[in-house]
């Protein structure tokens, strides 16, 4: 059921500049860990036949730490994320979402950049990257630009990514002061399940109030989205008296869930609100 093997091309550019030139010449689509593309290939449904193996490009590897942020190579695997102490120290939601992605064999191959550029609305790390206010570094033969991740997804599999651009690095600012981190994915089982829905919340608290708060949602819209309406209700509010009911109502405007093989719009709508309610209970408890 797979494609005609001799018609399938996979080339390995020797450097980032060669990869960018090949991308610009439409030589092929980027191929990294393969954990999404190979599934489509094995099902005989892969339309493209030409790929560029970018998995060994050094510029897209590694985790660099500065006082303000972590700079993650797009080729960081989930296993590499889970092995890095700074991820555990500053970004517990990334730890939870990387652990919730597939199982070990997938975590050993799947990459953070692939999770982003594959643009599945149900991917596990993107809601966390939204809640952490991540930025993407995009490189093309024309130069480098930095895009706030919240502006990157523009619709179902539609991204602010030109045909000759690669996602090279992901920068995630470290939350400062006292912060609350919540992530929960709901699937049929803990391992190997694709999310029915997920919610990530990161809040910075000061003087008993919400100083800054972001919420990322998975599998309830055509792409990973921020819950801007619910966030607006909660910003600046006292932890002792959060407007939970108003926030849950506002969350409805942030979602456009559908019925599909994994769940129903009704279930997604109710359970996403339940997760926000649980996250807000966690947030309130930090004020005590």
């Amino acid at each position: 059921m797979r494609g005609f093997l001799p018609a399938m091309e996979l080339q390995r550019p020797a450097s980032l500049s060669e990869a960018l030139q090949m991308l610009a010449a439409h030589t092929g689509r980027p191929f990294a860990g393969g954990t999404d593309l190979m599934v489509v290939y094995n099902a005989g449904k892969l339309r493209e036949t030409r790929f560029l193996d970018i998995a060994r490009l050094p510029e897209l590897q590694g985790i660099r730490e500065t006082p303000e942020y972590l700079d993650l190579g797009a080729l960081c695997t989930f296993t590499e994320l889970l092995a890095h102490p700074a991820i555990h120290r500053h970004f517990p939601n990334l730890v939870k979402s990387a652990k919730a992605t597939g199982a070990l064999a997938i975590q050993n191959r799947g990459t953070l950049g692939g999770n982003i550029a594959n643009a599945s609305p149900a991917a596990d790390t993107p809601p966390c990257l939204l809640a952490y206010g991540a930025e993407l570094e995009l490189v093309s033969p024309r130069g480098t630009r930095v895009v706030p991740y919240e502006l990157f997804h523009q619709g179902y599999k539609v991204m602010d990514l030109a045909a000759d651009e690669l996602v090279t690095r992901i920068r995630v600012p470290k939350p400062s002061g006292t912060s609350v981190h919540y992530f929960r994915k709901v699937g049929t089982r803990q391992a190997q399940a694709i999310a029915k829905l997920s919610l990530a919340l990161v809040a910075q608290v000061a003087d008993g109030c919400v100083a800054n708060l972001r919420i990322g949602l998975g599998a309830v819209a055509p792409a990973p989205v921020r819950a801007c309406h619910a966030e607006a209700v909660l910003q600046g509010q006292p932890l002792a008296n959060l407007p939970v009911a108003v926030a849950l109502e506002a969350l409805l405007a942030d979602m456009s869930p559908i019925d599909d093989i994994r769940s129903t719009a009704h279930y997604r709508s109710i359970v996403t609100r339940n997760l926000l309610a649980q996250a807000l209970r966690t947030l309130s408890a930090t004020g005590n």
């Binding site: 093997l5 399938m8 091309e9 996979l10 393969g34 099902a43 199982a103 070990l104 064999a105």
Partner: protein, 157 residues
Amino acid sequence: MAERITLTFTLNGKPQTLAVHPMTRLLDMLREDLGLTGTKEGCGEGECGACAVLLDGRVVNSCLIPALQVEGCDLVTIEGLATASGLHPVQAALLAHNGAQCGFCSPGMAISAADLLRRCPNPNHGDVKDALSGNLCRCTGYTKIVEAVQAAARSEA
């Protein structure tokens, strides 16, 4: 048309050279080009773990890996787990504890369990469940497999 490439890698401790198309699945390369049929194809989409092998010491699903990405790597399949002196402790424990019924998942289970014991010589019950969470068994209900892995750990420790 893509030409075949000459792939060089280490297979179960020995150097290997092979002419393959670059998008040949590692699973097919093993089973069809190299005749190593211990590695099984279950789901073909990275969910069941029947095709698990160790690539540079890490568990991977061989159905999701194109041949080109194996270039220069160290590959261990279920055929490479036993040594001249006998079965790998995990294999011996699966036998002793009836950790297999139909046996189709067993090569992948043994690979994942061997990887766990290398990373974590004294795993608790949760560690074993985590390590095997990407390997599906439709016969045993897992209890005997988990018991076998824990027994293998005790004999290695």
